[in-house]
Symmetry: C2
Subunit: 141 residues, 2 copies
Amino acid sequence: MKEKEILREHIARHKMKQTRQREIILETFIKIGGHVSAEELYHKVIKRDPSVGLATVYRTLTLLCQSGIAQQQEFGEGKTRFEVVQDYKHHDHLICTKCGKIIEFENCDIEQQQEQVAKTHRFTIYSHKLEIYGLCRECKK
Amino acid sequence: MKEKEILREHIARHKMKQTRQREIILETFIKIGGHVSAEELYHKVIKRDPSVGLATVYRTLTLLCQSGIAQQQEFGEGKTRFEVVQDYKHHDHLICTKCGKIIEFENCDIEQQQEQVAKTHRFTIYSHKLEIYGLCRECKK
DNA sequence: GTTTTTGCAAACCATTTGCAGTTAG
DNA sequence: CTAACTGCAAATGGTTTGCAAAAAC
């Protein structure tokens, strides 16, 4: 798992310490894959190790974002969700406002257009977030 | 101001009441134009009428969203911002992660591509949000 | 051994809510 | 009049923080 390596490196570079909790949280986070809130991740984590605290999950999530493994997302629910960053292929989201389903998609043309926009504004893109809200196939009926 | 008319209609349709506070808050909100947090709007409002409460600002902002005049935005600061909806031309945002500047832009090609994506997923679009993060021209130097 | 990390509980801060008084229709 | 609205203060809920004990190096 390359994420483990990335974290290890980040930890070493910042004279931090490798801990059991961080390892468990990272593994659980990767296994879930996407769109987890801190609370949800916490509940999964304590199934493996009930002694881990919620604060540690928050702190580790922050760490994962700093090291580039995770990324924050806000879908307007009043809480932050976190997602695994997959740098080899970025994806965006179709979000059903009725059932809450989240569909991922990729579209290179959109990314290219973004580059175009950035160029005209002399803006250097680091990342982006595209969310499309509406009704999914089932909820449309 | 067409927003006043929209609100009036929405209020009538839901047997709500036209109040001084709602009028002041709407006017102030429109004047500011974009990317205001509830707290910021509140501070502007109490300059005109110190008796207005923060809770009323929140409640009115909710009302403005329901009537389609305003729209929520979250830029990951831990608080919600609100923006005036301009249905004739939708715009998206370039957000500088260094100085916090927000640049608006429009791009029809991106919108068209989104329609394309939605079609392949049989998804019905109501709205969307595109945020591009990076460095603005000044901060790049 | 020293320094970072942890769990816990308390603190924080944006937002919401209950309520008694006020106001619009 | 009566139902909706308001301001206030208290409650809420996600997230952060201070601290003493525990673990990593």
